[in-house]
């Protein structure tokens, strides 16, 4: 297996793909958003319970490749307890990781996604759930699609 491919399919990613965390709808969710990647058919729903400005609970559901499923799962573990501003900052960092391969500022599992940058076609797989989560935070009713933003 090439170095690029083993960088892409890191153990953290395989683990989240196999045993997704926070999968399924939260009954108490007060925000949700749907994300679509029309070119490959990946779908992701994100459910949140916002308590004030804090993400008290978060979950996802959907279907897609290992990268998209692992990204959604890992995202839920990273966003729980964060404020909207913190979530946006974290997404900015995650976006930089997947597009440039840069390691995260603090030690974090998000770094497992650095290998994505060598596979430009897969960046959208990694960012789909994050777009849905940000839309849910902003209360956007319209479903997000990977065609409506740059990545």
């Amino acid at each position: 297996m090439s170095a690029d491919l083993s960088d892409l399919y890191q153990n953290v990613i395989l683990d989240h793909n196999r045993r997704p965390r926070n999968r399924g709808r939260i009954p108490t969710a007060n925000r949700s958003a749907h994300g679509d990647n029309p070119s490959c058919g990946d779908q992701c729903d994100v459910f949140l319970r916002l308590d004030g400005d804090k993400i008290a609970e978060i979950s996802f559901d959907g279907s897609g490749c290992a990268i998209s499923q692992a990204s959604a799962s890992l995202m839920t573990t990273q966003l729980k307890g964060r404020t909207t501003a913190e979530a946006e900052k974290l997404y900015k960092e995650f976006h930089e990781i997947v597009t440039t391969g840069k390691e995260p500022e603090e030690i974090s599992d998000l770094g497992a996604f650095a290998g994505v940058h060598a596979f430009p076609a897969r960046i959208k797989c990694a960012t789909l759930s994050w777009h849905a989560a940000l839309n849910a935070l902003h209360g956007d009713a319209a479903p997000t699609t990977t065609e409506s933003h740059k990545d």
Binding site: M1, L5, G41, D42, G64, C65
Partner: protein, 408 residues
Amino acid sequence: MASSWESIRDQFPILNQQVNGHPLVYLDNAATTQKPISVINALDRFYARDNSNVHRGLHALSMRATDDYEGARSRVKTFINAEAPEEIIFTRGTTESINLVAASWGSANLKKGDVILLTEMEHHSNLVPWQLIAQRTGATVRYVPVTGDEGLLDLSALDRLLTPEVKVFAFTHVSNTLGTINPVADLCARARKVGAVTVVDAAQSIGHMPLDVRDLGCDFLAFSGHKMASVTGIGVLYGRRALLDAMPPYQGGGGMISSVDFEGSRWKPSPERFEAGTPNFGDAVALGAACDFIDGLGREAIREHDGSLASQARDRLEELPGIRIIGPKGERGGLVSFAFSGVHAHDVVTFADEDGIALRGGHHCNQPLMKKLGLTSTVRASFYVYNEAREIDALVASMRRTIKFFGV
């Protein structure tokens, strides 16, 4: 250069390369086929020697280019056994051909209460144009069901669905996802009994098997050049002349009018009526060369070759754990579509690419069918004249490595 099966791979320069350190195994032919040197040379020769705008030209190059363009039309006419070159309209591809029929024939012939009959296995290109014209005219769309994983049309439902309200029945010859070969002649005959016009999507059959529009008995037939060893950007709509001459123009512009006044215009007959603007004559020449290439190999022989590889691949893949293969068990077109439980198609395709194997993963522009089958995506391996049995070995070995990695 006449084509032959001998040293067939040498006729496709693109095959002679390494991808990710492995010899290229190109199994994405249902998306687009590679081009033989004879087609590349025909294109090259046209632009190096004859290029000029066609029709109305009074100089030597324009006359030559016109002869080349109209020669390509005649070549396609012979290739599908149409009655006249006027029945061959050049388009950008299958999608534009179907949009042309739906928009032009549909707007003149469909009204509220009419029914457009499609099948559940249609590519989006033979589905969305009909949904659009249904919205505009008030007609409704019905679908012939697919029998599940075996992927056959449920012909027992056809009598119930093919009622006198059906004005058009549009269906694919070979499914791009299932590999199913539909009984086109039978479907056309049954449609004719209720007075419905038939539209055949031949994108996946034209380059792979004998095809004769008079044997099929269809009213319209659409295909693309790039899926039959020719280039992108050129395709064909075949239509029976009586139908074409009664249809309004699709687009307006130069080349399609017989006279223009400020008050209004009159149209030329087919094919000019449907070819507004400067046509794609360069690529039409390449399409003619592709017809020669294919007939040089023989379409019966191509059907045998591609179908046999697809069946072999199916049998070999079936041995893999966790695999679900969709499509018919018997005769199939040159492709096989499958999914693994626990590994997504895109991950499979990424791993195959590492082994130099080009596959396609996704919904294959067949989203409604995928939903019906409870799938979000499949992996598709599709074959053409240059593929060999050893490439199936490479495919199966790559699949084994992938599912092992993901712990299936």
